[in-house]
Amino acid sequence: MKRAVYLDHAATTPVHPRALEAMLPFFSQRYGNPSSVYSLAQEARQAVEESRVAVADILGCPARDIIFTSGGTESDNAALKGVAFAARESGNHIVTSAIEHHAVLETCRFLEKFGFEVTYLPVDECGLVRVEDVEKAITQSTILVSIMLANNEVGTIEPIAEIARVVKDKSKLVGSRVFLHTDAVQGAGALDLDVNELGVDLLTLSSHKFYGPKGVGILYVRRGTPFLPQQSGGAHERNRRAGTENVAGIVGAAAALKLAAERRQSNGQQCQSLRDRLIAGIQLKIKRAHLSGHPTIRLPNNASLCFEYVEGESILLNLDFAGVAASSGSACTSASLEPSHVLMAMGIPEELAHGSVRFTMGPDNTEEDVDYVLSIMPGIIEKLRAISPLTEAGES
């Protein structure tokens, strides 16, 4: 049998067997609509509310501040549009970074059509947002700052707690309340998600990134944050997100988040040692391979590399022939032809950015997996470089 090595945990993860087990009864047996009166439905209601408490425990917030959504994308949209449209009277300025996920960046573009102004902060060559840039960007008309907790492509971890302090201070100085959102989708299972430690008013999570089902998101909204719900309808989720609850999905997401939080330490260490083995091995065996992102302030499971003279997709296809799943830039939209906006923002030249490959580890990966990748990568790169017209020119 062909070996199967999954190294794309930043794109998505399998549902954890225990999360799936928790979900199963809610499809065909305990299928009541949580809004109904009778016992079958109240069981579903209870399952949703217990899930809310479980999530709130991990975020260190009251259960009432948790909204269940249909994914990270919806949570990002709801956070930005929700605050922007609700706080419109106070100002029309939003601050974000150039390396946010499309779910944040495209939402900003949407809001620009509605008269909002957005500052896209640059990052340094390691992908770090500069805290002083955030401070400088905030004006009297700023209502919202949205900076991600960790980047999905290069794994760089942003200084959210510091940013939170600066937002609070500058907010006082200019005399207007500025709210802080963080897209923590890539942080789940790796970083502390306590909203008070982070100092954020809104926080986004996506279930399928932490071994929960696809199509479930979490949005934390601190009490007192202006928020205009974007999905209108029934009185679900305390009037903040209409629509019949995805009961099985919510139960699965909460179970998975609990497991991920429990295993955070051990999992992080294991991933990090595999990641370091992979990076070291590649740099030893393959010339002109460059690690992107921050050397140390990065997610424990992220190894993002750029290979000169070759293009990412053709590397991925060859890896796939050998049973290895990896990604080039964001998995979110392979439909895009532009090189990753994240690598561009970090100042990586376009031709190098085209040769990016991202390996992201998970708890099921082993040293053998890494050694297998190390055994095939040099051949793949060599083969592609042999076809490439850039190789000679470059090496001469």
């Binding site: 293009e311 997709e313 053709s314 296809l317 032809l337 031709e351 850039l390």
Partner: protein, 123 residues
């Protein structure tokens, strides 16, 4: 995503490599855009006797490069000039819509190689 034939050409590309003594060479694309193709042709008696390529690019770019080198062999220059992007894509059993631009490169490089040949050895 890709047809079997695209995958076949991608994994076993035909006619790979530079041709130092080529009669015509054409390039298309740009490393900044993530796709560069270089096509070499050898011409005998008005026909393309051999063709080779070098490509930096995605799966579709490599497969269309391979396919176009196969398609031109034995064709007269005018016949070769008639090969369109669409024809290359069709010969491969189709390409995903977002990848159609890759077959543009193959025809473009081919046309430039023929131009190059003609500019060297005027008819």
């Amino acid at each position: 995503m890709y047809s079997d034939l695209v995958m076949e050409h991608f994994s076993n590309p035909r006619n790979v490599g530079a041709m130092p003594d080529a009669d015509g060479v054409g390039s298309a694309g740009n490393p900044v855009c993530g796709d560069v193709m270089k096509l070499f042709i050898r011409v005998r008696d008005g026909r393309i006797e051999d063709a080779r390529f070098q490509t930096f690019g995605c799966g579709a770019a490599i497969a269309t490069s391979s396919m176009v080198t196969e398609m031109v062999k034995g064709k007269t220059l005018d016949e070769a000039l008639d090969i369109s992007n669409k024809a290359v894509a069709e010969a491969l059993g189709g390409l995903p819509p977002t990848k159609m631009h890759c077959s543009n490169l193959a025809a473009e490089a081919l046309h430039r190689a023929i131009e190059d040949y003609r500019s060297r050895a005027p008819a």
